[in-house]
């Protein structure tokens, strides 16, 4: 019969564990994430110079284009491989959000459009929307209060 205490075992596990290469992962995330932003900037310039967009209005078509590219990469099974390499680099930009929605939609396609795709599409991304909206609400409350008391103009 095996004789070992839980604490001793935790030490043994730590000694054998393969740690995540955090520094390497951070560098890869920085460069891949930056590269995605460079592509986004390029798309913005394209819309501004070729079409009639301004710096304020170019955001929406740029995001839509990036998400469209993400959709293709996810559908062809490439995005998850890039993500394994780059980690947060592909998760943080809007492409990561797009991938979360699209992959969930694909995954649950066999369960039908309403109860499958519809019900599960925001399974991963739903909390991003919820907490995004909620934190925006809190920030707006703080800003309104500060303006009311004349702290900020």
């Amino acid at each position: 019969m095996l004789q070992i205490k839980k604490d001793d075992y935790q030490n043994l596990v730590s000694a054998h564990d393969q740690k995540r290469p955090i520094l390497k992962n951070c560098l890869k995330a920085f460069f891949v994430g930056g590269f995605i932003c460079v592509i986004g900037q390029g798309i913005s310039f394209f819309y501004m110079y070729v079409f009639d967009f301004t710096e304020e209005t170019v955001g929406d078509p740029t995001v839509a284009t990036l998400i469209f590219i993400t959709m293709l990469l996810t559908g062809f099974g490439v995005y998850d491989k890039i993500a394994q390499f780059s980690g947060a680099g592909t998760a943080v930009p809007v492409t990561g959000f797009g991938n979360a929605v699209i992959s969930a939609a694909m995954e649950h396609r066999t369960e039908g459009f309403v109860q499958g795709v519809g019900a599960n599409m925001f399974k991963l991304a739903g909390s991003v929307i919820l907490f995004g909206v909620f934190s925006a609400f809190i920030v707006a409350l703080i800003k309104t209060a500060l303006m009311e008391f004349g702290v900020i103009g």
Binding site: L2, I4, L12, V13, H16, Q18, N25, Y79, N99, E107
Partner: protein, 336 residues
């Protein structure tokens, strides 16, 4: 018959008469591809969903096993098997088509050894002439249930494992030639407070070590009795911890006589992190390469230990630790 605290001795030597294995395309590029009977080109296996593809794997492996023994489904007394999917639907649905009296069992990735041990006991005690037994898993179906969508870009840590797409089925028979079941040890559920679902090897190692220690103790075997100990899906981390645990508990196992199925299925250039996993992992290796090695007497005495992490996605989210189990079955070639 029962021996020691939790072990069985199969004194009538139930034979492993034949086996059948089916696997996915990724496994087809691995190290044991030549030993697998059927390799599908596509993860869908011409089915509309991954779950049905999973079922297809089991049906294929069952057919191949019975064909390899030159029998028919009508000759088989019982079918004992399981998988990882909710309500065992792939195995249950596969059992619908072969009309063999069926027992579905679930011990997570230890299902293969649990089913084999039970089949051995039933045949050993004249409860049946022929029993089909095995386990299976499908990468995409299991990922969908336990982790994220297949195409979701989440970075996996080096300690995580790759679910094997494969089914391994064996036929345990009262008479015949070939490797036989010699002994078994049924493990108990253990928990050393491991909580990381991306490090199953560390969670399962204590169960493997406990069952192996009890096996040697119950059967009063010498430490070097077996040519090889084959674990199911401990992976690199779990395997090295298990060897450490065995040594610190007085069983001085040689590292080169302890291999892991999850580390043997894939080639070095296939990045599967800490190794393969899943109920099909141990079953695929046991009923393909290991069986052939026993049959051709390249190996004579093997202890097969399948380990299982008994978690669910719900238990993980509710922050519970991971209970684990391991069962061991000893197979011998009969050459000496």
């Amino acid at each position: 018959m029962k021996i020691g605290k939790q072990s069985w001795l199969y004194q009538n030597k139930p034979r492993l008469l034949s086996t059948g294995t089916a696997a996915g395309p990724f496994e087809g590029k691995g190290n044991i591809a030549d030993y697998i009977d059927l390799i599908h080109k596509d993860l869908y296996m011409a089915q509309p969903s991954f779950e049905q593809a999973h079922q297809q794997l089991i049906e294929d492996a069952c057919k191949l096993t019975v064909q390899n023994a030159e029998l028919r489904f009508a000759d088989i007394d019982f079918f004992i098997g399981g998988d990882l999917i909710n309500q065992l639907t792939p195995t249950n649905f596969a059992a619908r088509s072969n009309h063999i009296p069926f027992l579905g069992i679930s011990n997570a990735c230890a299902t293969s050894a649990a089913a084999l041990a039970m089949a051995g006991l039933i045949v050993n005690s004249d409860g049946a002439q022929h029993i089909l037994t095995g386990a299976s898993s499908h990468y995409a179906a299991v990922e969908k249930q336990f982790r994220y969508p297949t195409e979701y870009g989440a970075q996996k840590p080096p300690s995580s494992q790759w679910t094997v797409t494969g089914a391994g089925i064996g036929l345990v028979s009262k008479n015949g030639n070939g490797p036989y079941l010699a002994r078994a040890t049924i493990g108990k559920v253990m928990d050393l407070n491991q909580k990381d679902p991306f490090n199953m090897g560390a969670a399962m190692a204590p169960a493997a070590a406990d069952t192996i220690l009890n096996h040697f103790n119950d059967h009063k075997l010498a430490v070097n009795y077996y040519d090889l100990i084959v674990s199911g899906d401990l992976g690199q981390i779990g395997r090295s911890i298990t060897i450490d645990l065995l040594r610190s508990n007085g069983l001085n196992i040689q590292a080169d006589k302890f291999i892991d199925s999850g580390l043997s299925i894939y080639a070095d250039n296939q990045n599967v992190f800490s190794g393969g996993s899943g109920a099909g992992c141990s079953a695929l290796y046991l009923y393909s390469k290991l069986y052939q090695q026993l049959k051709t007497c390249k190996l004579n005495k093997v202890l097969f230990v399948a380990t299982g992490a008994l978690l669910s996605p719900l238990s993980t989210l509710q922050k519970q630790s991971i209970p684990v189990i391991a069962h061991a079955v000893a197979l011998e070639s009969g050459a000496i």
